[in-house]
């Protein structure tokens, strides 16, 4: 890598509605430095690319591992949460006439500590501060609001800008020291003076003590007044204004825990119908529920499940059929689910089988035993739709991520890696060789690095800009239009 400008984007051309299968280029990266055993030269280059996102220490710590990424509803902001309980919000740079090529770059906007580790004394266990999910509220005024959650507590954060401050108080001077009343001889009205832009984050609500088990998802309702938080056995409905109570709307805990066969893995509100939500299970099924039917939505109104193929049965069939993520399409007509080896698109009108099934990394099917031993089989991959619901994306191992075009049925494998990416470099499609002769550019299954996994990705709501979290690094790519 040559000396880098902080990677500037190319000019953004006409927005192409179809999927860009080729032509993804890197907009920017936010990298933690390599461990100290690498050459100094490479490290100094890396530091030039980094900006204030960089932490002080010289090694990749576990606290920096990104655990969630989410664009807000306009795409102007991108939030990441990490294992250390920190949230970092990036903002897209404004278009400027003097530097048109810088449009599309995201810079750090706000950083704050959302959750701290806690200790539950009653159960003698530590509550991790890792941010499991972040969901934005649509913007209604100048401030931005997001919900962030760890295993037990959801918090509503307000992120606002301050670029003015009052000056000229009567009773105290500019440092805040109280003035001696005898020295005050006249009255003046404090005036707002401009100051350097400050972005502050404040916790406006804390929604706690409602979950016995670990929260795996949160979802904001289209009514913008309520949201759900979901743990392994229950879904709770909250009002954004009320923190001391929530309604339990799904409870699948059996009377006798020994009879437990299934847990809830994710839940999401329908994007338009404020009374509809879906939740996925560890058995590979999805239930659609209507909150108007009953206060407790244990009875689903739709049940989506594909019968298991008996020819692929193994010790690990249950694990690989467990759904790790469920997402409604933007138009509200489809559901997408991710299990260990596939992504499936379901039509809400058809319950007995998915509309489409995409193989993410079927070459792992023969390696399930090893993946069980190294714990990779428990990895929970997420999946995302693009803005027009024509393309879906999900992550894999070796820092690969996959995109599937639902219309053309083409797919592509791309890699987020610092070795292969230069500023404005176009990502080269990757290919995994499954057997036989390995071609020059291919990588064999046994060479894949299973410690490098892309679990979290997000797609800009309107444009072809994606953010990909690779362990403790964040990559942002956009469609380069020729």
């Amino acid at each position: 890598e040559g000396p880098s400008s902080s990677s500037s984007s190319s000019t953004v051309g006409i927005h192409r509605p179809a999927l860009p299968m080729t032509g993804w280029e890197q907009v920017c990266r936010f990298l933690d430095p390599e461990p100290a055993d690498l050459s100094m030269e490479e490290e100094s280059d890396t530091r030039k690319i980094n900006n204030s996102f960089l932490r002080d220490h010289n090694y990749a710590t576990e606290a920096d591992i990104i655990s969630t990424v989410e664009f807000n509803s306009s795409g102007e902001l991108l939030a990441t949460g990490d294992k250390g309980g920190r949230v970092v919000v990036f903002q897209r740079e404004q278009e400027s006439k003097s530097q048109p090529q810088r449009r599309g770059e995201y810079n750090v906007y706000s950083t704050f500590q959302s959750h701290e580790p806690e200790f539950d004394y009653l159960k003698s266990l530590e509550i991790e501060e890792k941010i499991n999910k972040i969901k934005w509220l649509p913007q209604q005024n100048a401030a931005y609001f997001l919900l962030s959650t760890n295993d037990k507590t959801v918090k509503l954060w307000k992120i606002s800008e301050r670029d003015k401050r009052p000056e000229g108080y009567n009773l105290k001077d500019e440092d805040g020291r109280i003035r001696d009343p005898s020295t005050i001889t006249s009255l003046r009205v404090p005036v707002l003076q401009p100051m350097d832009l400050m972005v502050e984050a404040t916790a406006r609500r804390v929604f706690s003590n409602a979950h016995t088990y670990h929260i795996n998802s949160i979802s904001v309702n289209s009514d913008l007044q309520t949201f759900i938080s979901t743990d392994d056995l229950r879904v709770n409905l909250w009002n954004l204004e009320i923190t001391d109570r929530s309604f339990n709307i799904v409870d699948i805990k059996p009377a006798n825990m020994e009879e437990l066969t299934e847990v809830i893995t994710s839940a999401e509100f329908h994007p338009q119908q404020c009374h509809t939500f879906a939740y996925s299970s560890s058995k590979g099924s999805i239930r659609l529920c209507d909150m108007r039917q009953a206060a407790l939505c244990d009875k689903h109104c739709k049940y989506f499940e594909e019968p298991e193929d008996p020819s692929t049965r193994s010790f690990f069939s249950e694990i690989i059929s467990s759904i790790s993520d469920v997402k409604f399409s933007h138009n509200g007509r489809y559901l997408m689910t991710r299990d260990y080896l596939t992504v499936k698109v379901w039509d809400l009108q058809m319950e007995n089988k998915p509309l489409e099934t995409y193989q993410v990394h079927d070459y792992l099917r023969g390696k399930l035993c090893s993946l069980y031993e190294n714990d990779c089989i428990f990895d929970k991959f997420e999946c995302v739709w693009n803005g027009s619901d024509s393309v879906i994306m999900t992550g894999s191992y070796n820092n690969f991520f996959r995109m599937f075009d639902r219309n053309t049925k083409r797919d592509v494998t791309l890699e987020a890696s610092r070795e292969n990416s230069k500023p404005r470099a176009i990502l080269k499609p990757r290919k995994v060789c499954v057997g036989g002769k390995r071609r020059k550019d291919e990588i064999s299954v046994d060479s894949l690095d299973f410690s490098k996994k892309i679990l979290h990705t997000t797609w800009h709501p309107h444009e072809n800009i994606i953010a990909v979290a690779a362990t403790n690094n964040l990559y942002i790519f956009q469609d380069k239009v020729n």
Binding site: D151, S282, F315, I319, G366, C369
Partner: protein
């Protein structure tokens, strides 16, 4: 016999994962524990049924088949046999007292009757003698006691070495009530 070896290996790995998950930061994860117990159950059933068929035929057992997903009719038969095995195998005896004490506090189940004293017919399925010595892959260490804790008499079918029935009487249902 490959299937048996594979099942044993998976069981050993699963048990060590279960133990490790108890010290995990953030506490026991219900989803993960459930998946582990499902795998253990399949592996245990395969192991059990393959041991049975080994005993009944007396000879070298069925064709070796790798236990991953390449479909093979022999494997499928064995699996379906395993599914149809009588449920009591699951419910007999209790997991060893290595489970943390606070698991009982969080445990939600009602006190059920003594499960290891089911009808003798079922107990006769347990094997005795040299062939049934504890599989060598099971941990032989005893649980570390917390201060003030006492070690009480291990129930039948304890996980410890020397308990010949340990593998067959492992109750995986006890994994979940740890919450």
């Amino acid at each position: 016999m490959e299937v048996n070896v594979e099942a044993r290996r998976i069981l050993a790995v699963s048990i060590s994962k279960l133990y490790a998950s108890r010290t995990q930061r953030g506490g026991l994860r219900l989803h993960r524990s459930l998946l582990l117990s499902l795998v253990m159950r399949s592996a245990r059933d395969i192991y059990h049924s393959s041991r049975e068929s080994e005993e009944s035929t007396g000879a070298h057992s069925a064709p070796e088949e790798p236990m991953d997903t390449s479909s093979s009719p022999g494997e499928q038969t064995r699996l379906s046999e395993a599914q149809h095995e009588p449920q009591p195998a699951l419910n007999s005896a209790e997991l060893a007292p290595e489970e943390p004490d606070n698991a009982d506090d969080c445990c939600d189940r009602d006190t059920t009757e003594d499960k290891e004293n089911l009808s003798p017919v079922k107990q006769s399925r347990k094997r005795r003698g040299k062939a049934s010595a504890a599989p060598d892959f099971l941990p032989s260490k005893r649980a570390r006691l917390e201060p003030g804790e006492e070690r009480y008499a291990a129930p039948l079918g304890s996980c410890r070495a020397g308990a010949g029935e340990s593998l067959t009487t492992l109750s995986l249902n006890r994994v979940i009530p740890a919450f």
